[in-house]
Symmetry: C2
Subunit: 441 residues, 2 copies
């Protein structure tokens, strides 16, 4: 059976992703393929309107294929092409679109050479992967044995890709996207993310309420306590989209200044690391309730040994006195979770490690250990440098792991703020230059 | 409009998940909600046959709702219930199933008390969330403002849940699952995961090749270097499924012994913590290349302050001498990444923290710092107790974050092995008893 619906001209092309596989249905595998495909398609000006997941059941696949071909301009089906899937995807495609199979010599050659490179014997079952639907274009898969398939009719495009993420991703980038450039009605989408820290979300929203083009403000309850502003611009051309995006970003920068700590893939540990490296400064960390998380984030960055000297996780009070030199009198008078102890921890780790900066976190991660005066989620953070110590008090709620995450984020933000105090924000300057020079995101 | 299709008796119930939201469609959010829901439904004997994702577009939602109600026994729709989504999900539901809205006083009360607990003002927009479709059951959401909705007719079930993962998960577990127990034709699926560490995967597979019922062995390239054995059994009754599952697990335990460190949700930090607490023992950690990750994992466990005393991240050599007492001569003669330094770090942190155990990690996480003799990925791990020091050498490859993760996992495994040496594996004994007594997973 075959359905041809002429493309609605003038309307933007819409895509459907069909992911096939029992693993995704049962929840054993999270559908990361669909997210990757959607992001890639957006770069070609095609937005995804439907994602459909079905198992290896012919009747369900048939139904999904027919509907997708009816309603979408671009269909991308992944999964079900491997030798273990009984070739369901391919046979359903042939049935729905009334076509036979032919053996493709180039695919067969690819299968044989991949097997011989791994020192393995090709079985007849493996060779069956060289059977492709008649009248379709083969997308050579240099990363695995199952080829991609492309078929186009009446301005519509159908792709079938293997479900192995690496193979699918390479085929999307190298084979699918080039075939989708310049579709009639395609709208280019340009996105930029601005990471803001230390500004309450409601205040932030008031500040930027009149700036248009900010699609989405994410400050999810399970996030680390920062706000992510996402600028999305859709336009007919890449140049136009980039120029408009840059204007909105400039407006936001003018309003928010240093509250913006980074762009797109930036993390606070990367930004803090860059600031320390640029200033040839060193840091040491004293952690209690974050239990090593601040330091673990700092050391996620390659080259962090240039500026990170040491850290102490002082969980027990004895560790706070022995390793950090917190006076026993401070602990007795104010308690382990107090501004005074946080300050002593920051000064102590800085002095003992002979670093430019010392940063400290002490708090009650919970679930136990809280009291009416000092509830679970109470955290004191301190940063010490040659000019003194700054202490901040926060309340992060009663979820242990969230409190760890938010306290670590706040500690890094505090260090960044301290580093920016005297010398401005070179990260932002650099990023601004970068954006002027190269407008594509 | 309303469609009622009587349930096909005898056939197993099939579910459809509808996830609603532009974030998922565009690939900015990976659809982890669908995976969670599918896993939960399986525990009630309901398998998911379709997952459909649509944006906040009424016509697409309408179409998806109608098809789902036609073909599925259980429909779970998530997302689109928050105040920022213009209540699209709710209004489409009312349109498709021809019903009006009523104000639910209990929901309104919940919204008001959540807002007042956070010290925030309730807006009329927030109060709109208390409008629920007539003739439906409200599932109170104690974790957020948007309630869940349940509607059942002709043996079919329709649920609408908020898209915020934590709220959705709690509603699934506490409200949805209890309403789905004992559906006609349900096939109970029982799964059990066994976590194995320290056995090469190929050797493991030889050991267990003749045991049936092991569906899947996962040792993913992005994992922490352990192997997860997943036993899956499907049967008509919970008792039968549990009994068959228990037999397979017993067989695996007989073959693998202490290589199994835990079951299902167990992590090494939980297991190590349990072993330490049971023995009334304390531990301290000295980290170099793991940068605090070992300690951060240990402190993810509530109550870890009972056994974790302190930790030092000694990134610089001076920190290794100053905080851990590693002799300068050891560093000079053998280098910072050596068996000798690892041993000195473990003994040093143990002595200075006066703990029963000391564990240490030193290595080259990369990308820089490697040499032909000491390549990137080389890691030495040591554990010290009253009987001496044990050192292990590992090579973890050239990915910085993977090396951190695998080294941390190996360090925890080393501690576990040391703790088990003399006194057997109480974790396993306890788990065995637990399984006998309470067969449901």
């Amino acid at each position: 059976m075959k359905r041809d619906t002429p493309q609605q001209n003038g309307e933007p092309p819409r895509a459907e992703i069909i992911t096939i596989g029992n693993e995704v249905l049962s929840g054993r595998t999270v559908n990361t393929n669909a997210a990757f495909i959607a992001s890639e398609l957006e770069r070609a000006g095609v937005s995804v309107a439907w994602v459909t997941t079905v198992g290896d059941v012919s009747s369900h696949m048939r139904d999904a294929f027919l509907r997708a071909w009816e309603r979408a301009t671009v269909v991308i089906a992944t999964g079900g092409l491997g030798p273990t899937h009984d070739d369901v995807t391919r046979s359903v495609f042939c049935e729905v679109f009334s076509r036979g199979l032919r053996r493709d010599e180039a695919v067969l050659q690819n299968i044989r050479s991949l097997f011989s490179a791994r020192g393995r014997q090709v079985t007849p079952r493996n060779e069956e992967q060289a059977l492709v639907p008649e009248g379709t274009e083969v997308l050579q898969n240099r990363w695995g044995t199952a080829p991609g398939i492309h078929w186009t009719e009446n301005g519509k495009h159908w792709f079938m890709l293997p479900g192995v993420p690496r193979e699918m991703q390479n085929l999307m980038t190298h084979e699918v996207l080039p075939r989708l450039r310049g579709l009639p009605g395609a709208r280019i989408v340009v996105r930029r993310e601005l990471h803001v820290v230390g500004v309450p979300e409601s205040y932030l929203m008031d500040q930027i309420a009149d700036i248009h083009g900010i699609e989405h403000v994410a400050s999810l309850p399970d996030s680390k306590g920062e706000v992510c502003l996402r600028v999305t611009v859709t336009a007919g051309s890449n140049d136009e989209a980039c120029a408009r995006c840059a204007r909105i970003v400039s407006d936001l920068e003018a309003r928010l200044g240093d509250a913006i700590y980074g762009y797109d893939g930036d993390t606070l540990e990367v930004v803090v690391g860059r600031l320390l490296a640029e200033r040839n400064m060193t840091i040491a960390v004293a952690e209690s309730c974050t239990g090593g998380l601040v330091t673990s984030r700092l050391t996620d960055v390659p080259g962090s040994s240039r500026y990170l000297v040491s850290a102490v996780v002082a969980y027990a009070n004895t560790a706070k006195t022995d390793f950090l030199g917190v006076p026993l009198s401070t602990l007795t008078a104010y308690g382990a979770v107090s501004a005074e102890t946080a300050a002593a921890m920051a000064s102590g780790i800085r002095a003992r490690s002979q670093t430019d900066l010392g940063v400290a976190v002490t708090g009650i991660a919970g679930p136990g250990g809280g009291s009416p005066e000092k509830p679970v989620g109470l955290v004191y953070l301190a940063v010490a440098d040659d000019e003194g110590v700054e202490v901040v008090r926060e309340l992060f709620g009663d979820d242990r792991l969230l409190t760890k995450a938010r306290a670590a984020e706040t500690a890094l933000a505090l260090v960044r703020k301290r580093l920016l105090r005297k010398t401005g924000n070179p990260v932002r300057q650099e990023k601004l230059k970068d954006r002027e020079g190269n407008r594509a995101t």
